[in-house]
Symmetry: C2
Subunit: 149 residues, 2 copies
Amino acid sequence: MDDIDLKIIGLLALDAKRSLADIGGSVGLSPSSVNERIRRLTASGAIRQFTVDLDPAAMGVQTLVFVWIALREDADEAAFRDYAARHPLILECHHVTGAWAYLVKLRVGAPPEIEGFLAELKAHRYLGRSETVIALSSPVPGPFVPKES
Amino acid sequence: MDDIDLKIIGLLALDAKRSLADIGGSVGLSPSSVNERIRRLTASGAIRQFTVDLDPAAMGVQTLVFVWIALREDADEAAFRDYAARHPLILECHHVTGAWAYLVKLRVGAPPEIEGFLAELKAHRYLGRSETVIALSSPVPGPFVPKES
DNA sequence: AAGGCCATGGATGACATCGACCTTAAAATA
DNA sequence: TATTTTAAGGTCGATGTCATCCATGGCCTT
């Protein structure tokens, strides 16, 4: 992982469709060499996948929500993590320091849907207490890649 | 934006390198039609860009941090948003409801670097109060696409 | 001196891309 | 209501670019 690898990654992050010849011209290598480096980066796991960054609004999920979660005392934590991984709305789920146990990030079409999500958590007996925060706007939105349906 | 478009998007999200013929086989269309649909989705902005999802650990930024921020009373809010957009460590920045004004998500190599980040915010006279939350683990990590350097 | 690592260049087959033509469905007019 | 018009999207085929692979050669390390 040298400077050239980083440069290639930077270029791919901006536009993964650029040709190997094009990238090679930018970093001073032949197309073959760039291809070999990308192959190695992918094989080593540094590049997890080639994907698309989508517009949440176009996908009908304009509303970005963060939910702080404290699990029930008797909740099956492993089951919750698995549930989170499979849930199509949950884009991220992190076990965090501080007063709350988990921070969950999700996208929904509109605020009323949040209620359904919380009800679902409750029905599964995961939810102890929670606090919901809604994003009003996003100066830096970050990429949006939908989960497998 | 019909069901086929959604299917194509789903396939691209999982692997943007699949050939048009391959995708066409999965959705029942010719390669040309798939190409035309992807072209339209990109032109309309539904697909923002083709990119790569990276392993944060391989990129040397294992530590995921969320910082709640209340700006100083006299802070230039527009300047802060611009600053956040340009900052290479800041992956996301959202204006949120609740007790805090902004939620910032960033990745660093190790916890000590957080201190430098907060000092930088203070030096720019943006920071009123803040609260830092560190992710211990991530059942659902979400994609990682580094910012332009 | 020898071995491994990486870049190069060329051959090859797959692929994206484009244009011409066709089908279908909806809109417009009689 | 029936008929014509128009537009949108699909297929097919041609073309040129591109990714991919392999043999070769240089460079650094041990």
